[in-house]
Symmetry: C2
Subunit: 203 residues, 2 copies
């Protein structure tokens, strides 16, 4: 789960009003176009209160999506250490979160993301602004090729979440995490760092 | 789209009643447990009419799921020819169907599969009975390892469908099919036919 601030949670109605206004604003204007000021106005509260409850715009976005993880933290963990182990570390971290107590929130997020056009748009913003941009930068990927590389990674990880946690198809659903790391880690590694002949147009 | 038989479509109300009864039966009893006789009884029609409208139980199942493709045909196409090109052929066929007029039905099927527990169960039956069993047999996979191999393939292809057609995240959503074949074909090939150290328990 996205960690709440250590402060008291405040009035739950106010919190929910802010989250509702945030979902609307992020879906309508995108992450970049939605301002804390406009979200506060939508909820009928002072912008300072939004910051007080949620901290940064990033954290407000994650809370509004009920994201089971902070992609910033996942990316930081995965990119720390030997570059040749990037894929294995990313899959291991992903499974630790989804196999743990955050998994239920993850399934709810995916179900919601697929449920209607509005939630789908929010989820796309989530992938682009919270994952894609940061992963390209943090993993030191070529800016031209990096975006396709990261969306390939996203396709495998979203599919893993779908197959293991939503559809629950066996034997993948019950396979030991390390078996999945051994199977899918090299896929992720290849998407991120290997030459991919035929994938990118000749320069 | 699943090809209808060449016969006249018959009474649309009867067709829909049979499809409704089929969805209920397949979700409640699984593919193997649901009989044409019980589905006919549920729809209040003669079993011969079910055969007349839909042909085999397989075809009735695909129609009840609004599947954009007949997995039997996809698997047959992919497994015909050089075994080292299995992954590339499978991704190419998959993209031809989803990039074509069947794509909209595919998105509807995925949205429905994730929408509620009942539809999720139906989709799981679809993967296990229409894809998994046949793919293991047709691709000549080891029966012990084959099931996990095929679910790994399913995870990548379901994720590709999610990222490209449902969430539509760029640049993957607009990438040329042959670039995606070059990127994902080798992943599928490896899942199906390569040694996967660390994935299977030692015998």
């Amino acid at each position: 789960m996205v960690r709440r601030t250590g402060r008291r949670p405040g009035n739950p109605d106010t919190r929910e009003a802010i989250l509702d206004a945030a979902r609307t604003a992020f879906a309508e204007k995108g992450y970049d176009g939605a301002s804390i000021r406009a979200i506060a106005a939508g909820a009928g509260v002072d912008p300072a209160l939004v910051h007080h409850y949620f901290g940064t715009k990033d954290k407000l976005f994650l809370a509004s999506m009920n994201s089971p993880m902070d992609p910033l933290q996942v990316i930081a963990e995965a990119t720390e250490g030997d570059r040749s182990e990037l894929g294995v570390r990313l899959v291991r971290t992903f499974l630790r979160i989804w196999d743990g107590p955050g998994g239920a929130a993850g399934v709810a997020m995916l179900r919601s993301a697929v449920g209607n056009e509005w939630a789908t748009k929010l989820f796309r913003e989530f992938i682009v602004t919270q994952i894609l941009r940061r992963a390209v930068a943090k993993a030191g990927l070529d800016p031209v090729q990096g975006r396709l590389r990261v969306t390939l990674v996203a396709s495998q990880l979203v599919g893993l979440a779908m197959a293991r946690y939503v559809i629950k198809v066996e034997p993948l659903a019950s396979a030991p995490p390390e078996a999945i790391v051994a199977a899918i880690g090299p896929t992720i590694q290849r998407y991120l760092t290997d030459d991919l002949p035929g994938v990118f147009p000749p320069e």
